[in-house]
């Protein structure tokens, strides 16, 4: 009995770990959608680039002989956020802004093009093979009887939760307290009115891309260190998962993205544990189909009211 409970708890812990990183990426999708109504399909690639930058920074600092773990971690986090943010800014500027005001399909196609471009750009510059990174943070706690089932909680998992929580708290403060954060929300409710208050909506849109990209880089760092491996294609599936999480929670809603990410992570972990890990993507995307069928506005989203 206790074994089964521990097994369940273990899956829950694993699910919450992956789920919280999905949530971080999903916020980028949901914020951009909320403000300009487009799906930024290049967002997954930003996450992938975040992981690459993390690995490069860690390797570089190790080469220079810097070994203080907190210092290396912080440096990697800041650099990957900054690099990802500039990618986010540049993508919006180059691929989306010139198409604003045109039909939405154009921006969508441009996003897919940007995604393919970034994937291949990284493939050419970094090679297409897996790049591995030895575990930076090892160890953890174990619970239960070693002879039967032992649940474990690694330090890395705890770090993932803490960093995610802190990041989300910072984001929440930003969008509720700071005037630029509030402007992001104002724009997502009525872009034209925000312009009529003298606020340059283009700047707010650029800011949204920058913030979303920085969050994706946080996820890139965390998952990169957790798995210890990266290749140029990881952004695609992670992007799809996070997109699913955003739709699940209600696209446009930030709390929805957080909830959707966690839910998706736990669902995947449970499917792997009690069914078969090969089916975890099937179940995840089936969940998306079910939500779209029965609650198309998502768990925390609001149904769109057609005004007549």
């Amino acid at each position: 009995m206790l074994e089964q409970l521990l097994y369940f708890v273990q899956q829950l812990l694993n699910g919450l770990t992956i789920g919280s990183t999905y949530a971080l990426i999903a916020i980028g999708y949901t914020m951009v959608y909320g403000i300009i109504g487009m799906i930024n399909f290049a967002h997954g690639e930003i996450y992938m680039i975040g992981t690459y930058v993390t690995f490069i920074v860690i390797a570089g600092l190790a080469y220079m002989g810097l070994e203080s773990l907190p210092l290396v971690f912080t440096a990697a986090l800041l650099v990957s956020m900054a690099v990802a943010a500039s990618y986010g800014f540049a993508i919006e500027r180059v691929a989306y802004r010139p198409l604003r005001g045109q039909t939405r399909l154009l921006a969508l196609i441009s996003a897919i093009g940007m995604s393919i471009f970034l994937q291949n750009f990284v493939r050419l510059s970094q090679g297409s093979r897996d790049i591995a990174m030895p575990s930076l943070i090892t160890g953890g706690w174990t619970f239960g009887d070693p002879s039967s089932f032992e649940a474990s909680l690694s330090y890395m998992q705890v770090i993932i939760w803490v960093v995610t929580l802190v990041t989300m708290a910072a984001l929440t403060l930003f969008i509720t307290r700071s005037k630029w954060g509030r402007a992001c929300r104002a724009c997502s409710q009525d872009l034209g009115m925000t312009n009529l208050l003298g606020i340059n909506a283009n700047n707010v849109i650029a800011l949204t891309f920058v913030v979303g990209a920085a969050l994706a880089a946080v996820a890139g760092l965390l998952l990169g260190l957790y798995y210890g491996v990266v290749n140029p294609y990881v952004g695609f599936i992670a992007g799809l998962k996070a997109f699913t999480a955003a739709v699940l929670g209600g696209i446009g809603s930030i709390p929805g993205a957080m909830l959707g990410g966690l839910l998706l992570g736990v669902t995947e972990a449970m499917t792997s544990a009690y069914f078969s890990s090969e089916y975890k993507d099937v179940v995840a995307f089936s969940l998306l189909v079910l939500v779209l069928l029965f609650r198309p506005w998502g768990l925390l989203g609001k149904p769109e009211v057609e005004k007549i």
Binding site: A186, G192, L196, L197, G198, I199
Partner: protein, 233 residues
């Protein structure tokens, strides 16, 4: 202060405004009256640069603003209370006001907030309430308060009385008069011609995108054509 010369506006191929010329002098209340679809809101929004005038010039404080982007125009001492109020429904009253005061220097910001709350005590009571859950009158107050947060020299109001109870309308018009007394120049678009002409220094009548009449508020109020068309005979 604000001068329009031969301004025309098109929506695609449809011409909504035809060679409009109009002037608002400092310290005045000028009203624009007309029926539904006559082009009142289009005219007001054209001044804000959205939609853009297809020809003619719009001069504000001696500068041609007809080619400037909307957000830039709106940072030059103009504020607008648009048609349908367009408050940010998902944000609190305080957050809505803070968006209006986005560019207000932090020294003035607190004072402005207090002035708005003084003018509309209801808003103070509902400071942390989501704006979308308030009544129409309260939302209208919020829309006006939001516009006042930027210390505008000139205020555009688009049908502030639409859909409100008579007692609230009375209040709103009193506040408009009060603002003028404090030195704010007011351009008021109204369907409620009676009330609007009563407080206006001057008025313009718009029909099918043409200005057909202009005179002082008092004269328009007794003008036969206006009485028949807009004041119910």
């Amino acid at each position: 202060m604000l001068k329009l010369e031969n301004v025309s506006t098109h929506y695609g191929k449809i011409q909504a405004l035809h060679d409009i010329s109009l002037e608002v002098k400092q310290g005045e209340i000028v009203t624009l009256i007309g029926a539904n679809g006559a082009g009142k809101s289009t005219l007001m929004m054209t001044i804000c640069g959205d939609p853009r005038a297809s020809s003619g010039t719009i001069t504000y404080k001696g500068r041609d603003i007809s080619k400037e982007p909307t957000d830039q125009i709106m940072r030059t001492g103009l504020a607008v209370v648009p048609e349908g109020r367009r408050i940010f429904a998902g944000m609190t009253v305080e957050e809505n006001l803070s968006m209006g005061g986005f560019f207000t220097p932090s020294k003035r910001y607190k004072d402005n907030m207090e002035l708005v709350y003084e003018l509309f005590p209801r808003l103070k009571e509902r400071e942390n309430q989501r704006a979308g859950t308030m009544s129409g009158g309260e939302q209208q107050m919020l829309a006006i308060g939001r516009a006042l947060m930027s210390n505008p020299e000139m205020l555009f109001l688009d049908e502030p009385s639409l859909g409100l109870a008579p007692i609230i309308i009375q209040q709103i018009f009193e506040i408009i008069a009060k603002l003028r007394d404090e030195g704010v120049t007011i351009f008021l678009v109204e369907q409620n011609a009676n009330q609007a002409l009563r407080i206006a220094d001057r008025g313009y009548v718009i029909e099918n995108g043409h200005i057909v009449l202009q005179d002082s508020g008092a004269n328009l109020l007794v003008n036969d054509e206006v009485r028949n068309a807009y004041l119910g005979g």
